[in-house]
Amino acid sequence: MIRVTRKLEFSAAHFYHNPNLSAEENRRIFGKCNNPRGHGHNYVLEVTVAGEPDPATGMVLDLKELKEVLEREVAGRMDHRHLNYEVPELAGKIPTCENIAAVIWALLEPRITKGRLDRVRVYESPDLFADCVDGANRGDGRF
């Protein structure tokens, strides 16, 4: 099996706030990420697709097609947007890297027609990222 990874960068604003918690609890849990004016990141998305190369083309999937899917499904929804207000898939969710990765997984999974989606990695900064994988296919399945 071969794993193929494609990157996409997008820039977006967000802040962390849970309306079910008091203002004080929000500040305690989320710290400066709770600033209601929001702040932004240059996110880096890495999407990995696993499969066997097609003997005729030598490709697991057509990277041009994957690039178009990423631009449409992810950049089209999230680039230069405010994740708290402008992305319906994140409505009601706190836009952490974990939740963004899970939402991107759900957006991409049905669009990957060759190979299977293996990993979605979302970097909020070079020092922080979340991975979303299929628990049955990757890792030891434990949580």
């Binding site: 962390y16 849970n18 079910n20 918690l21 849990i29 989320f30 710290g31 969710k93 706190i94 836009p95 952490t96 890297c97 974990e98 939740n99 990765a101 899970a102 997984w105 999974e109 299977r116 989606l117 070079p126 020092d127 922080l128 990222f129 979340a130 991975d131 979303c132 994988v133 299929d134 628990g135 049955a136 296919n137 990757r138 890792g139 399945g141 434990r142 949580f143």
Partner: protein, 148 residues
């Protein structure tokens, strides 16, 4: 369709430390042959990068696998503060009889972080330089208890 999704969170930390690769089990000549310039008796140093991966269910209240400030506090207390700006061979107890190779440093950091209460430690990966890295995901379950 995919099965249950598994989320993990990875954070990178840094510390700078010196070390020397030398084992009292071997003669000086054998040490020289084995460790080469890494055995320089005065020691030498690296800017280490530590990548800590934790996994677990995403808490719906916070949207997080683990609260970052809690993870930061824990890693700083257990690893960054005791390791940063030290001579590992002499100032971190575990390396007095244990050669501070990247492998041993990685395993020691994993041991120190295993008790992180808010999520399960999945992996520790260390870059000793931008060219060398080591990762450790723990001992297999069956032998975990007998090795400690």
């Amino acid at each position: 369709m995919s099965g249950p999704l598994k989320l993990s969170l990875t954070r990178r930390y840094r510390f700078a430390a010196s070390h020397r690769l030398y084992s009292a089990r071997f003669s000086d000549q054998e040490n020289q042959k084995l460790y080469g310039k890494c055995g320089n008796p005065y020691g030498h140093g690296h800017n280490y990068v530590v990548e800590v991966t934790v996994t677990g269910p995403v808490d719906p209240t916070t949207g997080m696998v683990a609260n970052l400030s809690e993870l930061d506090r824990f890693v700083r207390r257990e690893v960054v503060e005791p390791f940063d700006q030290t001579y590992l061979n002499e100032e971190v107890g575990e390396f007095q009889d244990n050669v501070p190779t990247t492998e041993n440093v990685c395993r020691e950091i994993y041991r120190r972080l295993r008790s992180f209460p808010a999520a399960r430690l999945e992996k520790v990966r260390i870059e000793e330089t931008s060219k060398n890295s080591v990762e450790f995901t723990g001992e297999p379950e069956a032998t975990q208890d007998s090795t400690e």
